[in-house]
Structure formats: C-alpha cells, structure tokens
C-alpha cells in the first residue's frame, strides 16, 4: 500500500490493484461496523474527568477549563507538543543565510492593490484580535494555539506579496522559535526548586505564569507555522525560471 509512492500529477486517483481495493474495503467496513457497535452498545464512563476538572479549576489559576487542562493539569503534554512543532521546523528550515537580517522590507514598484489593502487593513486587525484571543484564553474560548494560528495566517497574507521577508534562520528567528520551549522548561524546572515538583505552579502566581508561557508559546507557534508555510514559497521565488513563468502568466 505504500510500496509505490506516486507523485505524478495526472495519475488516476485510485490504485488499480484489485487486491488492495477489496482488502481495504473489508478492513474499513469491519472497523466501522465494530466501532459503531461499541458506540451503540457501551454506555461507557458517563462524564469522564469533567467533575474532577471542575473541582480543581479554582486551583489552576484560569477559569477556561480547556486552558486549565492544556497549560496546568497536562502542561507536560503541551511542552512536548511544542517540541513536535520544533522537530518539523528543524526538518524543513533551509540552512543557509545565517547572518542575513531577521526582517526585511522590499520596496516593490508593481503593487497589487487588493493585497496591499489586505495588508494595511486586515493584518493589524488580525494582530489585535490574536492578542485578544490570547488574553481571553484564561476565561473563555481562545488561547495560545488559536492566537498563534491567526497570527501565522496574517503573516501568510504578508508573504503573498513579497513585500516583507523574514529570514527564519537568522539568530533572532531561532531564538524566537525556541523561546516557548526555553521558557516552559525554565519555569517548569525552577518550580521544582520552589514547589518540589515539575510544573507545579504556586497558586498565587499560576495565572501569571500561564499567561507568560502562553505569550511565549504564541510567538513561537506563529513563527513556526509561518516558517512552515514560507518553506514552500521561498525556494520558488529564488529560482529564476519559475519567476519567468509567473510573469508570462
């Protein structure tokens, strides 16, 4: 099933080997039937951990239960998850241009009206809204990941026009990319000294510490997601032939 990895653009949608077709229909149907029987038959654990979480939410420093789970009860998972994001960034980032500046603005003579309008009007609004999401994450839906994703979306918009370029391999970018992990680990281990156990927030500061971690996480996630996107764009713009084709179009 993975023996041939097809990347021909115009290839047919489906492998023509009948065996894998039949087998996968059978397996998928079996899976579906079995699991649906489970769902229908089993009452299961009715409330999960909801009561326990509502009991302890007072002690977590935030009032939004999802944020409480993500950054307090199961903060270790979130830490490792940020590490997953870092893995992919490391795998994808180009390794050249270490000393080029972090942020560059290119003055382009030919302007795309729609894009520049979007940049001028929508991007600041998105930034403000992301800040709001981050701040609101403590007590209502929102948080670091959502804010980071929004900011990354705004930066995707920025790169569409080639007006702004961020060099993701500059020292500044690298520091910002690992910022959340560093802050997370530092706070986590420092708390061993103060509180006796990893990532045990003291009650008085937990809200503040969570906000600090979330802010750093937003920065890192924004940069990580934006760098993932730009890795598909940059090499296209640098290659000369592709640019030619573009101008023809």
């Amino acid at each position: 099933m993975f023996n041939t990895l097809n990347i021909e653009y115009d290839s047919p949608a489906v492998d023509k080997s009948a065996l894998s077709l039949i087998a996968s229909v059978l397996v998928a149907g079996f899976l579906l039937a079995v699991t649906i029987t489970i769902v229908l038959s089993d009452k299961g654990h009715n409330t999960g951990l909801a009561p326990l979480i509502t009991q302890n939410i007072e002690l977590s420093g935030v009032t939004n239960p999802v944020t409480a789970v993500l950054l307090n009860f199961r903060a270790y998972d979130t830490l490792l998850e940020i590490a997953v994001l870092l893995v992919v960034v490391l795998a994808i980032l180009p390794t050249r241009d270490h000393h080029a500046p972090f942020f560059k603005r290119i003055v382009v003579s030919k302007k795309n009206l729609v894009l520049s309008a979007l940049q001028r009007w929508i991007a600041p609004a998105v930034v403000v809204f992301a800040g709001y999401l981050l701040w609101a994450g403590a007590h209502q839906p929102g948080g670091a990941f959502q804010a980071g994703a929004l900011l990354a979306g705004a930066s995707v918009l920025m790169f569409q026009s080639d007006t702004y370029q961020v060099n993701y391999t500059s020292l500044m970018a690298r520091v910002l990319l690992v910022l959340s992990l560093v802050v997370f680990i530092t706070i986590g281990t420092a708390l061993i000294y103060f509180e006796g156990s990893l990532l045990t927030y003291p009650l008085a500061f937990s809200g503040l510490l969570i906000l600090l971690i979330e802010t750093c996480a937003t920065v890192s996630i924004t940069l990580a997601l934006a760098s993932l996107y730009s890795s598909f764009i940059v090499s296209e713009n640098t290659s000369v032939t592709d640019n030619k084709h573009r101008t023809i179009k």
């Binding site: 993975f2 023996n3 990895l5 079995v34 699991t35 029987t37 489970i38 038959s41 089993d42 299961g44 654990h45 009715n46 409330t47 999960g48 951990l49 326990l52 979480i53 302890n56 307090n72 009860f73 199961r74 903060a75 270790y76 998972d77 490792l80 998850e81 590490a83 997953v84 870092l86 893995v87 992919v88 490391l90 795998a91 390794t95 270490h98 020292l171 690298r174 520091v175 990319l177 690992v178 992990l181 560093v182 680990i185 986590g188 281990t189 061993i192 509180e195 006796g196 156990s197 990893l198 990532l199 045990t200 927030y201």
Partner: protein, 504 residues
Amino acid sequence: MNELSSSLLLPAIVFLPLLAAIIAFLIGRNQLQGRINICFSLAQFLLVVLTTLLFLHEQTYQSERYVIGGWGAPLGIDLIVDGFSILMIALTGLLTLLITLYSASYFSDKYSASEKSLRFWPLWWLLISGLNALFMSADAFNIYVCLEIIGLSAAALVALQGSRAALEAALRYLLVGLLGSLFYLFAIAILYRSHGTLDLMQIAETANHSFPDKVAMILITIGLLLKIALFPLHFWLPPAHANAPTPVSAILSALVVKASLYILIKFWFDVLGATITLGASQMLGALGGAGIIYGSWCAFRATQLKVLIAYSTVAQLGYIFLLFPLSEYSMGVSSFTGSASQAAVYFIVAHACAKAAMFLAAGNLILAQGNGEIAQLKGIAVREPLNVLVFAVAGISLIGLPPSAGFIAKWLLLTTAIESGQWWWVIVVIIGGLLGAMYLFKVLSLAFSTDPAVVESPTSKSTPQVSNVMTTVALILALITLALGFNAEFILNISNTVSEVSGI
C-alpha cells in the same frame, strides 16, 4: 516518597536532551558544536547511570511514580519507572553516548557536508528526549505525543541524506508512522470513553474482557505493529534503515523500533492484559516466526550491505515476538514476568548493542570502500581489520553463537520453548539461526578472501581513511556485546530482577 521519585533526576532525563537540542539549534555552525554535543551526551550518560544506580540501590523493585504538576494520576500526568523502563533508559543513555561520539566525527567536515550536521544535532537530541519521555510515560495520551516526536524526528533524520531514495524512504516511513499513531490515538479515544481516565495503571485496574477493550487492544496492536515493522508490515523498514546516515540507521534499528515494541509489551501484558487470548498471541508468534524466515532470506539475497543489515533487523524483531506465545504458556496468566519475558528483555538489549555495532562497522566499511555493494567488499579485511572484526563479533551475537549476548538470549528462548512444550518454535529459531549464519558468513567470507588481484586494485585508489574514533566506538559496542555474553550469570540476575519488577 523515596529518593528517586522525589528527586530531579526523572524530569532531567527528558529535559537535558531537549536543552541540548535547543543549544545545538541556537549555536548553529560553530567549531565547538561537536564538543558541546559530546559534553551533553556525557552528562546525559552520567544522569542515566545515577538514576539506574539509585533505582537498584533502593531495592524496592516496585514501579515508582513521579507526579508532574502535583495533580496526581487521572487529572495530571505521571512519570513511572519500573525495571524494564530503567533498563531501556540505561540502554538509551549508553547508545546515545557512543553514537554521539561516532556522529561527532561522522558529521565533521571531513566526510560529509556540514550542512547536514546543522540539522542533525537538534533532531538527534529531540529524538533522544522523545525516547526517554516515552520510556517513562504513564499516560496513554502522553505516549501518543512521544510517539509523534519519535516518528517525525526519525523520518526527518532519514531524510537528511538528501538522495531521492532516502527522501522516498523517509516519506514512506513518515506516512506509515502517522497511520500507526492515528490507530493508536483512536484506541486511546475508545479507552478514554469506556474508562474515563488516561493513566495506564488506572486503565489496567478497570480493564476487563469487554468488547471495547478488545477493539482498543486490536487497534493498538495494529498501529504499533506498523511502527515496529513485524513481518507483513515490514515493507518500509529496509529502505528507511538502509538509506539513512549511518548513526541514524544505528539508532533506528537499535532503539526506535524497540520504543514501539516497549509500548506494545506494556499494553499487551500490563495494561490490557485482560483482553488477550491464546489465539491472538499464537498469531503474533506465527507472524514473528514468518518474519524470522522471510527477513533472513531477504537478507541473504540483498546486494547492499546496509540493506542486508536492515533485513536482519526484520528477522531479529521476529525472535522478540516469540515472547508473546511463549509467555502465555509458561505463566498461564498474562503478566510480563517469567523466563519468556526475561529472554525478550535480554534479546532487546543484545540486539540493540549488536545491531548498533554492526551498522557503525558497516558505515565505516562503506566509507572506506566508497560504496555499499557487498560484492565489492572482497578482501576488505586486510585494509579495515578492526571494522571487519566488529562486524564479525556483532554477527556472532546475531546468529547466537556462544561467547556473546545473542547466544544467551537465544538459549533462554529455546529453553522456554521446550519447557512450555511448544517445540515448533524451536525449529523456527534454529532455521533462523542457520539462515542468519548464511547471510553473515557470506559477507565475512568475502571480506576475508585474500585474492591478491582484488586486494591490490582498490588500495591503489586514494580512499578516505576512517577516523579512529569511529572505529573505536564500533569496537566498544562489539566489546559490550561480548561482555554481555561472558557475564551471563551477572546479567541474568539483573534481567531477572528486572522482569520481576516490571509486572504491576
């Protein structure tokens, strides 16, 4: 609260590699990079040794929990160490130290572009921290996150080589890994639905012979078998392990497949032990047996050195899967104790050391030779005697000839099979050993052939000399393999306590 679970050590084992990854990423292209990484691996090794000694010193032989965040099991995440996980962490620490030493010279400018090393070091440390986190995790969803760290960084490391074959192998590896993790995640969702907790021990307490638990077990088994590459699902392993840079191949064969195996063993014997049936364990054993025969046969037919070793991993994994039917019979109840599990633990350690040694030696031979064709290895023993020696020693361990760790492991396996009256596994093991001898002696006899005409021609070319560090590291690993075999009694005692401990 005892010493180990109240100390800094357990989180430090996860965080030190993370810190190393961050620093390696930040310093970028720096002359000191190799040295800094060696320092980190030394620190990591010391940490692991300290932890192991502390664990053995306490002599409680019970699993110890470290509570993260002060919340406790169902709400927060716990770390847990028992004998088996301590053994795996110790193995990881040892191999990390040695392979880091190897990589420091492998990725220096002499042999390959330093561009690769810029990516290699951070990814390497992230992989190690993922492995350590996995071996200590007591939380089902946390294990999923760790599996993803391991899967993604391993695929990225395979892709480092940059050739089309390597990229394709990495892509296949990645897709298979993602598919396996999705199956695992699905099983976790079902488990959470019926048990209302993610903590492994709490799931184990309430697990029963019910239908959802069985389905979850099936899904976990399928997902993890994809990642372990048991026989019919092994198709991704040979290209991935053969095309990766040498240190990556070593860690992939030695530890990364074992990580998924560790989780499978944990679920199969500890967590969802209530759901397994005789037929299922016999089927896993049969797949393992088929893997032994098929993997050995493909290894015999391989024309590339690294492909041969990769297929040999497929075969060796098959031996470990004989654990499942044998332990079922020998104990009557499913728990990770008894002679079969002892054999499996011993096999994991022996195979990790021998396979790492073999991959490193093969990497050295390929560097000296210029390519990985087995046919071209004629007479290489004259030029690279030490590396051929390492290859031979590792091969002896893999075949299971006396003065080696592999012999002890196979001996344990055979005696367990005979004791439990399942003589058919004995036949499989013996045939596997014979086939193993066939493919390894094929290489060795070529290497030792002293046809003067052949010996002359390659030496006339100026081939790069393999650095001493790289040979030494491979030699140390081979010596460890031998030492594990010579100190059979001692090691058996340790592994005995280990397997006694690792039940709940």
